[in-house]
Symmetry: C2
């Protein structure tokens, strides 16, 4: 397939370097500096102590061309500035949104193209503009969102590889909500306390706060608390050595996705009913402001 | 007067070095190591770039002798282990409790001695077992708590000095509650976000959280919110360069006084009504556990 990967962060670099083995891939980035670096030196993928080099076509997002499939790998907060270009894409294009949170959902159903949403369960860290470390191998789950001709199975068949599994999921809402739960509990707590994911279950007081946030998130999203908490604990244990993306953002003084995560829950819920979520939302914004 | 200062922390060192100028002072500490250091080298008081040496008698708390006045300068959390010794003191002794929080109030009214409570508005940091920096000159306010023969005015007259003012206050409850308000808002927030006191009003999101904590504290202690918030802002601005004692405790991996402060409010109030206080209480305990 002819694939566009939009966004030069950790996920964009990871996808580009894997998909380029069997597909024609163009990575779209925002800065000319990063484009030139990738065009001349390629993307370096580190995994289990070995490094693999991928030569990938690279262009600026402003020069977006036509492709079969578009993987949107920018942060939730950058979706708005991308929408005008995506609105011009023909009806036959497939666009796959891989954002955390659900803030983009109301915006993407007016696109002409076939729209899919997905969640990424890989652990990956960008160590430079052209280098990415693949720390935890997970899955990419893709679900049809707005489509007249559901081709999720086709995407899966084309993309699925041993080292880079892709799975089809029917219910996009359940898929995104399950990811949102994890993001609303593990991400802000690990960022606030500057701890790895395992601290969610290892530190008794962070665990207590995680339970409160799980209660509130379950209430807003319509989950049973017990199942939700089991899920949070499982993910925290499975990724216990990992640094969450929000903690990495705070450590690197970057803007976080707190608005798309806890901010989304606050929009759906009543602030008085989810005070722990409200506290953590302000706390992450406070860390962002402190880091400026 | 013949004065006992109990506790070798920043406040105990500060009081001992000032009071020794006009009084016979014995400083009581817990560790023989600190006692020996003070007996041989004295207490070094730093202020405005100059250093003053005070020769002070020093003994272990276990060897507590009889004095006219006892200043209790241990942390709230250490009051319990001190009570048996204080219970043995004669009725004519004056004991002045200078703790943060109000957790000790129920325990100290069964002492035989005359009991006073006070709050300390000095900024002081202990830099070693025998060195203390006097960073912000404030006041010590003393109020009669349980006394048949109120001699607060006598204490004030005897202790008040130009560089070390002592003031009498009638209403001990109002005095302690006003201090508790400050401690419940400024201390945990500056500790959690690792910021100086001024950030309470300078960082918009920390300020938002401070307002929420002020609302909840006012509700429990019976303050008007507007006046309480004015008071918090005034103190934060007046001490904007200061490191709160709780932040210093977290930075030095010491136990904090969160139980005597936010923990006290949680005991008084209903957790559901003061969720921000409940969040910050768990958050400080999480930092303590992380620091272990």
């Amino acid at each position: 397939m002819n694939i566009a990967v939009i966004g030069g962060g950790s996920l964009g670099l990871l996808l580009s370097s894997y998909l380029t083995e069997n597909h024609k891939v163009t990575l779209y980035v925002r800065r000319a500096e990063q484009r030139d670096l990738i065009l001349t030196k390629g993307i370096s993928l580190k995994k289990n102590g070995t490094t693999k080099l991928a030569k990938v076509a690279c262009a600026l997002i402003d020069d977006l061309d036509e492709h079969d499939v578009y993987f949107i790998c920018v942060k939730q907060t950058h979706i708005d500035r991308l929408l005008p270009a995506l609105e011009r894409l023909p009806e036959t294009s497939k666009i796959v949104f891989l954002q955390n949170g659900m803030g983009h959902i109301n915006k993407i159903d007016r696109l002409r193209a076939e729209v899919y949403v997905g969640v990424v369960e890989h652990g990956a860290t960008r160590t430079s503009d052209r280098e990415v470390s693949h720390l935890g191998v997970g899955k990419i789950k893709i679900s049809p969102f707005k489509t007249t001709k559901d081709e999720t199975a086709l995407l899966e068949a084309n993309l699925d590889e041993r080292d880079f599994p892709v799975e089809t999921v029917d219910d996009w809402e359940a898929l995104l909500k399950a990811k949102l739960l994890i993001n609303a509990v593990i991400n802000p707590l690990t960022a606030l306390f500057d701890v790895h994911n395992g601290a969610i279950v290892e530190n008794a007081h962070i665990k207590h706060l995680a339970q409160k946030l799980t209660e509130e998130t379950s209430q807003v999203l319509g989950f049973h608390y017990d199942e939700a908490w089991q899920h949070v604990m499982l993910v925290a244990e499975n990724t216990k050595e990992n640094t969450s993306s929000m903690r990495a953002d705070i450590l690197n003084r970057r803007e976080t996705e707190i608005d798309a995560i806890s901010g989304y829950l606050l929009q759906q819920g009543n602030e008085r009913d989810i005070p722990y979520t409200s506290f953590i939302y302000e706390a992450i914004l406070a860390l962002e402001e402190r880091g400026k």
